[in-house]
């Protein structure tokens, strides 16, 4: 039977190639969807740990201007510490631009991160040596051996370029440009005199067998470190949350893509079901047993499915890594998860095998005669199944919108049911359209309609195209949502300036008096943790009541109540409506807030709404932070009334004697913005590639279905239809299929977007409804037009041949 299986493969090389390609593409689609979140995680992890590297705990001064003078001695007796890496880091100026210089003790430069040198001096590092990145060298036109003078306020120090490294590790973000040197020289730049044993951060590596939490507790108990902040160096929960917030919309769409991939393969094999059933009849008539027929099908499809899975695996790795390197970072090493690759290939292989056996199993149910005439049996359920599917979808939508406690879960159910209903109903709609158009007097329209209303391959094609189109629309919508969410709140920062490294005694009014300064507040801008009875969440701390007047908040609680609460001596915090919707917190609830490792009970004093940090913020007054948490405001947030760059320059000039670090907020967030842009590009590229894959598989399967209907076309020609009319007939069939798919998909996309936004609550993200009709329309129209043109693009007319009859 294997011989016959090979004959079957050899006899239809194009169809086999199309099937193998489609399986490979589906495998790659599934792999991309399984893997992209992990790639984003790895990318954010590399970014977030650029300075902490391989350390586990970091001890930091609470103010930029503070120094740690008692570096190692208090830590020596703590069990579980493997290595202590003190570091002195300051912002300095080179050629009028801010850079950050980070010093390490002799021999510890690469304790946290390996430096990948592109070029370096032949000798050893000296106290005035610095290593810079290749992009920094290019920006400042520096080369090995060059001498540079860095200034910090009135201090200045000379350095020489010892090495130029790749933009990885310490230099991954490079925003501002990073200089890596020696502690004593950095201390000289900071204080005017070179000094050993001074730093402002201590990185600690914990022994593999020690418990990091216990070591942290021991460090916190050290009296000499009472005023220092002891934190986890790699906050994996924060990185996970960041990853979730960036990937959640596409992860949700990805589930649909994976389901679609499985449906694709199944329908791909069903396309030629009629022909296969007839083939079974011929073998059965010649005396083949069911087992022999099954053996032939298994042998034939093992080869096809295995080829598809193997090529799909290669395509997955090549394509995915290429996308990551192009969009995220060419220097971050992304791991290809072998298990996920195997999983994707296994899904492709197993579904292909299962689907390929369906025609044989179907044929076994009928007699040889029935299989010979291959009358496709229509399900007895008829219209009942689509009606049930639509009713279930409507019920799910009602629950999703009316019962808030289950909104997110039912949003996922709605999405699944809506796609299922679409897949089930669209075939009926196409058939109905065909029946309506069949009365036309135009021969091409009449026979096109006869085809689409009677041939199952069109029902299968419209199902694939409409579900594929809808999933593609969802992917593009998810990409657009992700971009909008982050671009939206970044825009709020465009007229803001940070001043850090400030003196505690700095009078805020002196700042407010400067040219182009519209407002200024002394605040704590930090990350913290919010804890309720049920949830613990990383959150952004906006530590000043003045931010209420600096950003355009929508007041959910009354403005008076919010302002009264934040001005009260009680430990009130104001939270976003996202917290209320996601975790059910309300005004008056007591929650735990942790800032710089200090946990206190606070009370929710009001609810606001703002897209800032996707609603992931709390507002607390600087007075409460100082009195309850013991944390002093260390940053000044300035709002400019005009040109923000000019305003920043004015402030730098005015406070040049004080070594203040004045930077536009957008500049400070440059790396976050560029890394987010990279992630968006990656998600966008994946969306485009997957949409392209969906289209390729849809077209391939429709061509495979069409290849089994050559006799029908020959019959048309034999009956006197001209080649031109036949082409017109096929064009109409493809165009009507595309048009029906587009109209239905466009309508369903509104419901899916709304449910997608609700489903994001499962990932701790709350958003109001956003719908970009043009994104959906453009992606759908492009697919519909391309699909309509398939008969022309594939030059159908060329192979019209009456002899095929």
């Amino acid at each position: 039977m294997i011989k016959f299986a090979l004959k079957n493969i050899k006899s239809k090389p194009l169809r086999v190639a199309g099937t193998v390609l489609s399986i490979a593409v589906v495998v790659a689609m599934i792999f991309c969807m399984l893997s992209f979140k992990n790639a984003v995680y790895e990318f954010i992890y590399a970014s977030e740990t650029a300075s902490a590297g391989s350390s586990d705990i970091v001890i930091l001064t609470k103010s930029d201007s503070d120094r740690i003078t008692n570096v190692s001695a208090p830590l020596i007796n703590i069990d579980g510490i493997e290595e202590i890496v003190p570091s002195m880091s300051v912002y300095a100026v080179l050629n009028g631009e801010y850079i950050q210089i980070r010093g390490y003790e002799d021999g510890k430069t690469e304790s946290l991160q390996k430096i990948n040198y592109i070029e370096k001096d032949t000798g050893n590092m000296n106290s005035d040596s610095v290593i810079i990145s290749s992009s920094c060298a290019e920006h400042f036109s520096l080369s090995i051996g060059d001498r540079i003078a860095l200034t910090l306020g009135s201090n200045s120090a000379s350095f020489y370029v010892y090495g130029i490294a790749e933009n990885s590790g310490y230099f991954l973000s490079d925003s501002p440009f990073q200089f890596v040197g020696r502690n004593n020289q950095v201390a000289k730049l900071a204080s005017g005199t070179a000094a050993e044993g001074i730093c402002n951060a201590i990185y600690i590596k914990v022994s593999p067998d020690a418990d990091t939490e216990s070591v942290m507790e021991s460090i916190k108990a050290i009296e000499a470190y009472r005023d220092l902040s002891v934190e986890i160096a790699k906050d994996e929960k924060y990185i996970e949350e960041q990853t979730n917030s960036l990937t959640a919309p596409v992860v949700l769409s990805g589930a649909a893509v994976m389901a679609l991939g499985i449906v694709f393969i199944a329908i791909l094999f069903m396309m030629t079901s009629k022909e296969k059933v007839r083939l079974v009849a011929k073998y059965k008539a010649a005396g083949a047993t069911n087992r022999q027929v099954l053996t032939m099908f298994v042998a034939e499809n093992i080869i096809i499915a295995a080829l598809g899975a193997v090529i799909g695996s290669l395509l997955s790795v090549g394509l995915f890594v290429a996308i990551l390197k192009l969009t995220l970072s060419s220097l971050t090493v992304f791991s290809v998860n072998a298990l996920k690759l195997f999983g994707a290939a296994a899904i492709g292989f197993i579904v292909s095998m299962a689907a390929s056996l369906v025609p044989a199993l179907k044929a076994f149910k009928g007699t040889v005669r029935e299989n010979q005439i291959s009358t496709e049996r229509t399900s007895g359920a008829g219209i009942l199944i689509p009606v049930i599917a639509v009713i279930l979808t409507v019920i799910s939508v009602i629950i999703e919108f009316l019962i808030e406690s289950v909104t997110a879960v039912f949003a996922v159910v709605t999405m699944a049911l809506a796609l299922l209903s679409l897949g089930i109903c669209v075939g009926y709609i196409l058939r109905l359209t065909g029946k309506l158009l069949i009365k036309s007097s135009s021969p091409s329209l009449k026979y096109a309609s006869a085809g689409i209303s009677r041939e199952k391959r069109f029902t299968k094609s419209v199902t694939l195209l409409s579900v594929g189109m809808t999933v593609s629309m969802m992917l593009f919508m998810a990409w657009s949502l992700t971009t909008q969410i982050f671009d939206g709140y970044i825009d709020n920062f465009k007229n803001m300036i940070f001043i850090s490294n400030i003196q505690a005694s700095q009078d805020i009014d002196e700042i407010r008096e400067q040219d182009l300064v519209k407002g200024a507040t002394k605040m704590v801008w930090d990350k913290g943790t919010l804890k309720t009875d049920d949830v613990q969440k990383n959150i952004n701390i906006l530590g000043s009541k003045d931010v209420l007047d600096m950003l355009d908040f929508k007041y959910i609680s009354s403005e008076n109540d919010v302002k009264a609460a934040v001005s009260s001596a009680q430990p009130y915090v104001i939270v976003d409506i996202a917290m209320q919707k996601l975790y059910g917190v309300k005004v008056g609830d007591s929650i735990k807030l942790t800032v710089q490792g200090i946990e206190k009970d606070v009370i929710i004093g009001g609810i606001l709404q703002h897209e800032l940090f996707s609603g992931n913020y709390v507002i607390i007054s600087s007075e409460i932070l100082e009195s309850v948490f013991g944390i002093k405001a260390d940053t000044i947030l300035v709002v400019s009334s005009g040109d923000t760059s000019q305003c920043a320059n004015n402030l730098r000039t005015a406070f040049s004697k004080d070594n203040y670090f004045v930077v536009e907020v957008l500049e400070a967030f440059k790396w976050e913005r560029s890394s987010m842009d990279a992630v968006f590009s990656m998600i966008g590229t994946i969306a485009i590639v997957v949409a392209l894959f969906i289209f390729v598989v849809t077209v391939t399967s429709s061509l495979i279905g069409r290849s089994s209907a050559s006799k029908e076309r020959s019959a048309m020609l034999a009956a006197g239809m001209s080649k031109g009319t036949l082409l017109k007939t096929e064009l109409i069939q493809y165009a009507v299929t595309a048009l029906i798919s587009f109209i239905i998909s466009f309508a369903v996309s509104v419901l899916l977007t709304s449910s997608l936004i609700h489903a994001l609550r499962l990932f701790g993200l709350y958003f109001e409804f956003m719908y970009e009709a043009w994104v959906v329309a453009v992606s759908g129209i492009v697919m519909a037009v391309l699909y309509s043109l398939v008969p022309v693009a594939m030059n159908f007319k060329k192979e019209y041949n009456i002899r095929k009859l």
Partner: protein, 224 residues
């Protein structure tokens, strides 16, 4: 006395025609003896082909029993029925008998290969039958490269190659012109005589039915 090859008793079959159920076979009894050549004639839609398929076990009756070589073909399992198709009886349809991606030789030998017989055991026989049927020069061709008459002769060769006791033929000349149709009928008569194989043929042509040793007519769901 010649032995009984096929015995059909009380064969009934109905079809759902949308609004109503049409009883096409109304309790037919039929017997075929060894070496007999029976032609079943009747008007289009009279049910003669349906009856033939039921006799050959490629369709099932609603009621009644069909025995071939004393075996009730509707109660035996798939393996046994398949074995009988390969060894005891075979079928020739009006057209579309051959597997398109197999050569004529591979099509003819298909039942033998399915029976796991060695090529050395049957090659000479296949060549002899092909020569006899005049398709020996087309053995390496694919069905699409053959004329309609050649395709039918290849189908007959496949039916003969297993030395069956009976061959069922459904309008074997239906897709051929009158000259080629006549040639095929001559051939069938020759095969019937020389190979002693029983034939049951459905035809709408009284001219072709005349080649048979017995003619039965399907009328009102019964054989007359």
């Amino acid at each position: 006395m010649a032995s009984e090859v096929i015995k059909a008793e009380g064969i009934k079959k109905s079809f759902n025609t949308g609004d109503s159920v049409s009883e096409i076979l109304k309790g037919i009894d039929f017997t075929l003896t060894e070496g007999e050549f029976v032609a079943i004639v009747g008007e289009s839609g009279s049910g003669k082909s349906t009856f033939l398929y039921i006799l050959a076990g490629t369709d099932k009756p609603d009621e009644g029993k069909v025995s071939i070589l004393s075996k009730d073909i509707n109660s035996i399992d798939d393996n046994e029925l398949s074995r009988m198709r390969r060894e005891d009886f075979s079928f020739v349809y009006q057209s579309d008998n051959l597997v398109e991606n197999l050569t004529v030789y591979e099509n003819i030998t298909l039942p033998l290969v399915l029976s796991k017989k060695k090529e050395s055991d049957f090659k000479d026989k296949v060549l002899k039958i092909s020569d006899y049927l005049g398709i020996d020069n087309r053995l390496n061709s694919y069905p699409k490269q053959l004329s309609g008459g050649e395709q039918q002769r290849a189908a007959i060769a496949r039916a003969l190659v297993t030395d069956p006791k009976v061959i069922f033929l459904d309008e074997p000349t239906g897709s051929l012109d009158s000259v080629r149709g006549g040639q095929v009928m001559e051939l069938l008569k020759k095969i019937n005589k020389e190979f002693k194989v029983a034939l049951v043929m459905v035809t709408h042509s009284s001219q072709h039915a005349a080649y048979a040793s017995r003619i039965v007519t399907m009328e009102d769901g019964l054989l007359k």
